[in-house]
Symmetry: C2
Subunit: 481 residues, 2 copies
């Protein structure tokens, strides 16, 4: 029997992980990947560091080249956009680089269409000089805008054979900007504040709420705010940006209320939305989050149609419900599992713990699980949190740095619900202890009794996570006795 | 009812943790701690860094002063040695600083007598200039021997009110040594090789086996060996040191076979033994390891007698059996739990995972669980291991460093049994992921699906531990299918 091909829509992390794994497990299966743009399999999370200049070439961010994909036996078609799906006929409609359309039959279909940056709430986001950062072209354009007039070329930007010169042309003759507004204080905002500061710009971050990095909780947000200010970034907290204005090019930012700022550049990082438009005319169900609903194997509501990556939901280890937390590992892991499933050896895509880490200058920030009390209550928990400030190493050992850990648990059961961490010395990776404990459904007592690493150069006797667990357990005890 | 006091033998981590917790939970309970020496509650693991000079004063290593203990209501009696225990009468015999003996009744008794350095296999370990490193006096003596003649004083060494001048007097007039032999390539040996190198000495490490850091497994041992050689340390592997010889002062080291080395100083770090002599005439049982046998609450075979810290066993999370793994966190945690239990609120001391980390110059090393195949087989497992070399960060991000992870699992069940890690970039604390997974009885599949932290500055998309789990899972699969 010759099965119809495994067709993948989207050639980034989830799509090419699935294609690669399927070809490895079932070499005879035909695997076709359609990618609408020129770029495939790139490190989205690395783009701020490319803009910053720590990563020299844009192509350094590629993890798999088209040639690599070909070597793996994947039929990868770039500049091919899937414009429709017929789940009855099991075909997709594809528009090629010359504009021609054709129908492609599939045996199994993976929707890995990713997400796109939200700009809608901000008027004027389409002005020249107003950027979002979602993808390689955005990264190249921003870096082009930062370079001295006339210096940015495809070659100087390390765009290789993939960067379309028209992406950077509008910025080639710009004088380097002096003042930049970063709209949104999430990961992208914080990382880009660091990147712009490295270029010597006056950086202003506008955040609607009173804290940066909302999903990381109060303690992290406060410390990161201090860090950014210490580095010369001007924070505008509690400010809602309404519009960017300018005569063709962005010149000014205006907030609700009176405040405004003259700017040369704006970076809008107010969130992303799953790319699900392609599914609008199909019976594939979306979840409450607006992303594609899937089961534990990445299967959608329609037979033989899978979804993975930034366009799809995944099961949350703490709530047991499906949720949309678009992150790189989740995409890679789900893609890989689906590739194996499609190859005939079903494999669950794995739970998510909502683990995320971000660097804010010298501060390393991490979070996992459910940190927000409102969210915890919505999931049926009675949340209790404690925050501790401890040392990253034995206090007498050089380099010991303040490390702040917050843990949240359910009062009745003592179950750990989530946690966050911030500090300058190996803080971020310590969140992995929390993530692992969450996936094991540990209680705070279990965490308190973990046998974690201790040696003076790396950790105090009681690791910061253990200290937080001890304190939180103390808060939980009265209601037990 | 007035209970007889809670009596603690030994004023270090386990003893004072127990005393402190008991006084906090039951302030009216009398708590008496006998410590035979002048030092209490010090950071044993910090002594190599004091010798190295990174920690200026010996007293910096104290975590609780006698005054702190008094503030907590603990009746702490230093220079009081417990010389006998009568478990029928529930008394201990105590010899005070003036040589007088008295009987002290107890309601509950904690034996927290610690361990001592083994020197027995090496003849001549009692020569002047032949040191072991087990405690504050050893650390002070070694540093005195390293200082220029006439410069070492209690004050210059930061000995405070606790350091007995007679400890350092023998070394006060020594010229600084030029060549040092470190006998034993375990933690102490590796840490002290770094410390002596910092003082400009020619450092020779003698190790009976073919690898350093045996309990960390082959991959770690190899890399640490390379690191030490790169730093100028001469390794003598597969050499059994038989004796230190000299005329009063150590002058020469002789191995089985012909090899020998002229030395000015020797550090013997070939292991430690639990201090259990005090229990010889009591009915308190020892375990197979030779340390005190306890249950999950730290209770010995005799009612109201507890044991904790380096003299006691603890339950191993992987085997479920009791084992002797004397480490700092275990001592603190067990002491604290016993303090709570004695105060009337029983609390288990917690499993151990055999988690250990050590710094070897720039290499950060970690291990947890069962790494050795022979040991795994003895515990009834069929061990399979894989070792991977990955990057510590996204490959394109500056500072990405090779990280080597080994994981071991049971073939039949897929259960994770242990792991080790080595690398220069945040490697050590990543072992906490393994330790947490071990305590949760995770399989390698569970580990492979953990939602661990990813951001280019801190970790590749697939964290090194995840990559190792993927590869090990691949090796396990054939026997499943």
């Amino acid at each position: 029997m010759t099965a119809e091909p495994f067709v993948v829509v989207g050639g980034d992390a989830a799509g090419l992980s699935a294609a690669s794994k399927c070809k490895r497990e079932a070499p005879d299966r035909e695997v076709v990947v359609f990618e609408k743009g020129p770029w495939v399999s790139y490190a989205h999370c690395g783009t701020p560091y490319y803009v910053k200049g720590e990563v020299a070439d844009l192509t350094d961010l590629l993890s798999l080249s088209p040639a690599d994909a070909a070597d793996r036996g994947i039929d990868l078609r770039r500049e091919h956009e899937v414009t429709g799906i017929d789940t009855d006929e099991r075909t997709v409609t594809v528009r090629g680089p010359d504009g021609d359309r054709h129908e492609q039959p599939y045996g199994d279909l993976l929707v890995a269409t990713g997400a796109h940056a939200l700009t809608a709430p901000i008027d004027g986001s389409d002005l020249s000089g107003a950027f979002s950062l979602h993808g390689m072209d955005d990264a190249a354009a921003i870096r082009a805008a930062l370079e001295p007039a006339g210096e940015a070329t495809v070659e100087s930007l390390g765009g290789g054979e993939f960067l379309d010169p028209t992406v950077i042309e509008p910025y080639a003759d710009w004088a380097p900007p002096e003042t930049v507004a970063v709209v949104g204080g999430g990961y992208v905002g914080v990382e880009m504040a660091e990147a712009f500061t490295a270029h010597g710009l006056d950086v202003h971050v506008f955040q609607r709420g009173e804290r940066l990095l909302g999903p990381f909780g109060e303690a992290v947000g406060e410390r990161v705010g201090t860090e950014l200010r210490d580095r010369g970034v001007e924070l505008h907290l509690g400010e809602t940006v309404e519009r960017l204005v300018g005569d063709d090019r962005v010149e000014r930012l205006e907030c609700a209320g009176a405040s405004a700022l003259d700017v040369d550049l704006a970076l809008v990082g107010v969130g992303i939305e799953p790319n699900v438009a392609l599914l609008a005319d199909t019976p594939v169900d979306l979840g409450d989050s607006g992303a594609v609903a899937v089961d534990d194997y990445g299967r959608t509501s329609v037979e033989s149609v899978y979804a993975a990556g930034d366009c799809a939901e995944a099961r949350h280890a703490v709530t047991g419900d499906f949720d949309w937390v678009p992150l790189g590992l989740t995409a890679n892991r789900a893609g890989r599992a689906i590739g194996q499933t499609v190859a005939g050896d079903p494999k669950p895509t794995g739970d998510i713990a909502g683990t995320a880490v971000v660097k804010a200058f010298a501060q390393e920030c991490g979070r996992a699980g459910i940190v927000d009390h409102e969210r915890a209550r919505a999931a049926g928990f009675d949340p209790v949190s404690e925050t501790v400030t401890t040392a990253s190493r034995s206090g007498y050992y050089p380099g010991a740095a303040e490390t702040v850990v917050s843990l949240t648990a359910d009062r009745e059961t003592g179950r750990l619900l989530g946690g966050s961490i911030v500090g300058t010395d190996r803080a971020a990776v310590r969140i992995d202890t929390v993530a692992t404990a969450l996936e094991a459904d540990m209680t705070v007592s279990d965490v308190e009794n973990l046998d974690l690493a201790y040696a003076p150069p790396f950790s105090p006797v009681w690791d910061p996570v253990l200290t937080a667990a001890k304190v939180l357990n103390g808060s939980l005890e009265p209601s037990e006795g």
